[in-house]
Symmetry: C2
Subunit: 196 residues, 2 copies
DNA sequence: GGGCTTGCCTAACGATCGTTAGTTGGGTAT
DNA sequence: ATACCCAACTAACGATCGTTAGGCAAGCCC
């Protein structure tokens, strides 16, 4: 079967998988090229630099996260805080499952970006975290969530979410929907006070 | 003030911090040496190889985790499942907080170990995860935890725990005890069924 | 005081790194 | 048929990698 992806995208996908397995610094340009059955130098007909490939991956995943939760909030914005948090978590998990390799790179390899790009990504991550913090604060104000520090709880949930790409495999027996449901259940319960 | 640590341990501590910040592959032997104000080649009077330093760190942290939860289980073994899970989580968090740099290396850099060492570490991680799974299964059998898949729940908790060293800083305003309490609360609640 | 150990030094090794330059062959458009 | 472009090639660059070899000065043991 013939690969209809633009060459540039095939390079990014191959690089994602290698960056996830070995890390950005431990993956050479020649490694990426070899996986595509071409010479290392031939890559430079398609990309400006190794860091450019990293940036393309990180930027694409960041945009996917932003779009996914924006869509989730648009779809559940009028519902109660529990449903809105569930929608947030489910959207996040589905982005990860759609491309675990790229998501892993987004989570772990952004420190190898240039200063400007790293700063830009950190700012977008912060905005994302603030958004989640808002959903948690809503639930607390509403009385359905326990009195936790929203910042700490958001860190807990993001930590539990961001770790997924390090172990999730698409070939496994766990479907994206099952995983999204399970994580949403665990997330909501972790914030829900259990009465005595 | 004079550094009373054996030179070898000072090297490992410095390497831990650099490995955490930049990753193992992106940290050169000369980087480690420069942080200690000596020449790169001088390190080899104290260590056999770069990978040896990585192994020393990873092995030490693995042992610390094993010892900590063994101690926790010895201290709470006769209590109810909720207390035992709390003790497990708290012990884990305290090991991380005692040395976040080394813990981060343990979590993220083990793939750069040689084949034998990597296999050995993965086996110890598996045993650790099975232990946690047992605590969860106990609580389910006891009726205090919701009917979740123990394997999936253990993965959730370990994901939430293993992500801590990537953001926790000892200089921050969050004490190890506060963090351990918060994570134990969130962990227990995430497994506790909320009645309708 | 002679010998040993410790802790560092300088110099250099072969390998590999990211990247540039110049070229070639096959497909497409004119 | 001619001109062009695209995707790949080979060859090489300077830098940096982990590591080895050999030496030198200070402190301790007998």
């Amino acid at each position: 079967m013939l690969d209809t992806r633009p060459r540039r995208r095939a390079i990014e996908d191959t690089a994602s998988e290698l960056f996830r397995e070995r890390g950005y610094a431990a993956t050479s340009v020649r490694d990426i090229a070899k996986a595509l059955d071409i010479q290392g130098a031939s890559l430079y007909a398609h990309v400006a630099s190794k860091e450019d490939v990293l940036w393309a991956i990180v930027d694409r995943v960041a945009t996917a996260f932003e779009a996914a939760v924006a869509g989730a909030e648009a779809g559940a914005g009028d519902r109660d805080p529990v449903d809105r948090l569930r929608a947030f978590v489910r959207a996040h998990v589905h982005v990860i499952c759609a491309d675990p390799g790229a998501s892993s790179v987004f989570v772990h390899e952004w420190r190898h970006l240039s200063d400007d790009r790293r700063a830009a990504i950190l700012e977008r991550r912060d905005a994302y975290e603030r958004r989640l913090r808002g959903r948690i604060a809503d639930g607390i104000a509403d009385g359905v969530f326990a009195m936790v520090d929203p910042a700490l709880a958001a860190t807990f949930l993001l930590t539990a979410l961001n770790g997924i790409p390090t172990w999730y495999r698409r070939e496994g027996h766990l479907s994206p929907d099952q995983l999204a449901d399970a994580w949403a259940d665990l997330a909501v319960r972790s914030l829900t006070e259990v009465p005595l």
